[in-house]
Amino acid sequence: MGLNLFEYFLRNADDLLELTLTHAVVVIVSVAIAVTLGVAAAIFSRRKTRVRAVCLNVTSTFMTIPAMALFGLLIPLLGLGWGPTITALVMYALLPILHNTIAGLDGVDPRVKRAAEGIGLTPVQVFRRVELPLAWPVMLIGIRVTTLMTVSSAAIAAYVNGPGLGGDIFTGLSRIGGAGAINQVLAAVILVVLLGIILDLLLQVLGLLTGARRQRFSRRGAAS
């Protein structure tokens, strides 16, 4: 079977690459929208405890709804294809981003903020040059969690004719018992996981480049 799978990859390399790239686009678009909305909501609700509680409750309720049900509810509103796919994935992606942005901003030491004000920074400068950079490592963890989750749940979107690697899983299922069905599904699953690993590595590199590790070192220093 191992050789067969290898052959399957070679023979369908073009199609599989295209499906993987489409899957990646779906994930990146959804996560990008979710980051925009989630960070905006977190910043907007900073000093409004009630708004914040509502945002967290609503997004955690989204996450509880099974994917199949969410897609079923979105079909009458948005039809099939990209529309319900992106909408559902954004809804699922919001909670980790919102939550970690809030946690990151709350975790900034108030003394640091006061020191920044003390050297004459305006509130906007304090936010952009002190709070956001300090919150960024925690925010990045949220983005990584969300990305892995989105890569995996994007596969279910094929149920509503969504784009990406999930299509091969459903086709394989419809060909149950037929020759090559297992290879088709196995290849799609492997590529989904690989895509997840690659995107996660890219985000880790982004973290290194943007200095998201700094806090880790300082924390370790403080602990010892």
Partner: protein, 253 residues
């Protein structure tokens, strides 16, 4: 390790935030009333009426509940001891590679595991239960491990100083202190199970997802919507129950 601990920490405080405990049941009751009203008031054709018969809906809900129950019980029986074993000192060098694999496994698509297992060992309820179990093990396993490993050394050393053995420290110090984190992992697992069980219908294991699927197959949009609403209500109720249990079992400090 730092990132994992932070991530699981984030999970805990999110789920422990007050969730307006009455709101969810009210919402679910309203949805159920709306569905009941629609079924009794609308002029349904014979195909739709048969799919939405109360006996059929209840049977589907029962199948769904069984799949969730079986996969959750088996998951706890497997993940909890595994997490404890991996937290022992001799497993130190196993942990890092396993946690790395575990983090990559988050990208495993649930639908892929279910379909793959069905192709390999055949369709049916038991296949669905095993597939769902495999898919959802990780959160509880990881939270159990993190809960025990992140127990402050000062506490375990004090316990050792009082003359407790390794097992006693585990049973009377590390596990009780880890309860909130372990419960958070359990609840994540439960929610994943309820959601993934909706896919079980695709491999002939029934469940509430089959209302959605047969509605899609036969082009009955009202059945799709009702099936989705019922599946979502089921998930919300289970998560609500789990949150109450979590609150009751979490020791107050």
């Amino acid at each position: 390790m730092t990132s994992l601990a932070a991530a699981s920490e984030a999970g805990t405080s999110a789920s422990r935030r007050t969730r307006f405990p009455i709101l969810v049941p009210i919402l679910v009751v309203l949805i159920l009333l709306g569905v009941a009203w629609y079924i009794s008031a609308a002029q349904l054709d014979s195909v739709t009426a048969r799919m939405l018969e109360p006996s059929n809906v209840l049977r589907r809900a029962g199948e769904h509940a069984w799949i969730v129950f079986a996969s959750t019980v088996l998951g706890v029986l497997f993940a909890l001891p595994m997490g404890i074993l991996l937290s022992r000192r001799w497993a130190k060098y196993l942990r890092t590679p396993l946690l790395a694999i575990g983090s990559a496994a988050q990208a495993l698509p649930s639908i892929g595991i279910i379909v793959l297992l069905a192709l390999l060992v055949g369709t049916g309820t038991n296949t669905a239960i095993v597939a769902i179990l495999l898919f959802s093990l990780l959160p509880l396993l990881r939270n159990t491990l993190v809960a025990i490993v992140s127990c402050p050394p000062s506490v375990t050393k004090a316990a050792a100083g009082m003359g407790m053995s390794g097992t006693q420290i585990l049973m009377r110090v590390e596990l009780p202190l880890g309860v909130p984190v372990i419960l958070a992992g359990w609840r994540t697992m439960l929610v994943l199970n309820v959601g993934t069980a909706a896919l079980a219908t695709l491999i002939g294991a029934g469940g509430l997802g089959s209302l959605i699927d047969s509605g899609m197959q036969l082009g009955r949009m009202d059945v799709v919507i009702i099936g989705s609403l019922l599946t979502a209500s089921f998930a919300l109720l289970i998560d609500w129950g789990a949150s109450l249990l979590q609150r009751a079992l979490t020791p107050r400090t």
